[in-house]
Point group: C2
Chain length 338, copies 2
DNA sequence: ATGAAAGCGCTAACAG
DNA sequence: CTGTTAGCGCTTTCAT
């Protein structure tokens, strides 16, 4: 890992004080804008600091002030995914209001790495830790062992431990998607979903299923495809579905990547099936793609808010906020069955 | 700003040592896996640490080790913009190889805020600082005053100071866009560009102009529109261009946001003008949008690499890496003039 | 194999 | 208004 990194010695407050001909504490006062410093003294100190190129050592300050930083950690999937980057953006904006700084890390969707990141962040004494967990098991994120550093879960409910969480109404969104397609007289509806070990995926499917049950429709069942993890496989899966002897008349894709794949498969088709995708995305309006929309930036903002409240001293039981979803009709989801 | 934040006292190494019945230093050795610790002693120390829920204090360690952290700062625009999030993702992946952690901050495209962020990062003793500068003036980012913390500029060349930089071949890309449209027999070509105070925007236009000059075409000149800063205004600008008595037959949009706006304006048109956009984007393939593509993730990766080399001791003059661009033809840029 | 003492750079507490 | 003393939690000599 880290090799022979070059250390840089910077001037210290002691040196500034010496140059200014005052004591350490006076220099500290002057530079921190504390009261009880003669104007002339303050000027001399600032000048000395300038000459030396002095800059406060935040590490030393933090240690002295109680060993806790102004950093908040975020552990999530790759920022290259617009969902995660929107969440990060929402978090960053909210934290900034309170003088806190965001540190991001990518869990590679791997529980072992995630665990290591949690340790590293706690050692770095982050004020709070926000996590979009990679998998099912969350013992490695247990709050007991971390002495009061608040955890907030995003997108996935904490499993087996009490912690604040901000979730999307996945089941409601899945049900709405199903109802929307049923309302346009579809019965043979394909569902293309990601790994079933991911709770949000299961919830979206469950919601969809409940909509089907409500009207006694079972014609969708042969068209369920799960464990589709990227756009390329989604594209292929949709192609295969359309090649069936009795193809589905509509497709429901359970996240943004899968919707992308489906759009590629449907591109140029004379008579494409209806399509509704979970997660809104840039240019969906131009493409005329109907989606189950929600606000990932709000997700991040709310999570940061919960974390801050804990940092600021809020006690009390774990809270859960659910961000609502809504169907945005743009054409693709309103195509009738053929 | 920060209010009455609750401090959390965690167990210290001294407490672990006391519980294990050994000295401070022995506990330190055991927990850090240093040699010369009796197996039985090591076991006792680890057990004590476990019981107390001990976690190393990284702040204290960093202070003792020389006051420099394992953090690298990134100051850029909002992560909600896919360009910046792709850059951040590329940086993060590269830094990780070297055990370094990314801290991100949003400059709000404001020089004053940017300046404050630089100070804050330097106080936090980041190992290196990567900046996508908001504006023209970079004195506030001067390397002299920062005592050897390496700076790397992304996307915009450092103005008036020597620092490593990773740039996009903006002029080359602009020229290629112009040549591409000329090659498809367009002469009345509109250019929709962002704020002209941004050097990359000017370079893209300059490149485009050089392509026009090379063939003696001046018919594009009435159709230049700059200071278009968001998708909404781009949409409106393109609408206005098409409403002209003699409208342009092609449009060149100088960044991803503006391309988005143009696509909205062109949506549903029976006989749309040709379109080529700077920056590639998700689903451009589905939309059939021709672009001047480059690799923002590579931009981040290279910047992180340069920074790491400096951190690892590389001396020598400032280096500049230029990331190349290429035209990706997908249909919109190949429509003939009408 | 283990321990005692010193000190990283700063701020808090208490004098003067 | 200014200075002195202590110590945050850890690693680094240097002894033992």
């Amino acid at each position: 890992m880290s090799e022979d990194l070059v250390a840089v010695r910077r001037p210290t407050l002691t040196q500034v004080a010496a140059l200014a001909g005052v004591s350490l504490k006076t220099a500290s006062r002057a530079l921190n804008g504390e009261p009880n410093v003669a104007p002339e003294t303050g000027r001399r100190v600032r000048e000395a600091a300038d000459v030396l190129g002095y800059r406060l050592n935040g590490i030393a300050r933090e240690l002295r002030r109680g060993g806790t930083s102004a950093l908040v950690g975020l552990i999530s999937g790759d920022l290259a995914n617009p969902f995660y980057s929107a969440v990060a953006s929402g978090i960053e904006r909210e934290l900034r209001q309170h003088g806190l700084q965001l540190v991001t890390a990518n869990n590679d969707e791997d529980a072992v790495r995630e665990r290591a990141l949690v340790d590293a962040f706690l050692e770095r004494r982050v004020r709070a830790l926000l996590v979009v967990p990679s998998g099912e098991q969350h013992q490695h994120l247990d709050v007991e062992g971390n002495h009061g550093v608040p955890f907030v879960f995003l997108d996935r409910a904490p499993d087996g431990l009490a912690a604040d969480a901000v979730l999307i109404d996945n089941a409601g969104g899945g049900r709405a998607a199903g109802e929307h397609l049923l309302g346009h007289r579809h019965r043979r509806i394909a569902v293309v979903a990601d790994l079933s070990r991911l709770a949000p995926q299961r919830a979206r499917i469950d919601g969809f299923v409940s909509a089907m049950r409500a009207v006694g429709n079972a014609a969708w069942e042969p068209y369920l495809r799960t464990e589709v993890h990227d756009a390329r496989r989604a594209e292929q899966t949709v192609r295969e579905l359309l090649d069936l002897r009795l193809p589905p008349t509509a497709v429901f894709t359970a996240n943004n990547r899968l919707t992308t794949g489906a759009l590629r498969a449907l591109r140029g088709l004379a008579d494409p099936p209806a399509l509704i995708g979970f997660d809104d995305f840039d240019l969906a309006d131009v493409l005329g793609t109907t989606v189950v929309a929600h606000d990932p930036m709000a997700l991040g903002r709310e999570a940061a808010r919960l974390a801050y409240e804990r940092v600021a001293g809020h006690r009390g039981p774990a809270r859960t906020i659910v961000v609502s979803t809504s169907v945005v009709a743009r054409g693709s989801g309103e195509r009738p069955p053929r």
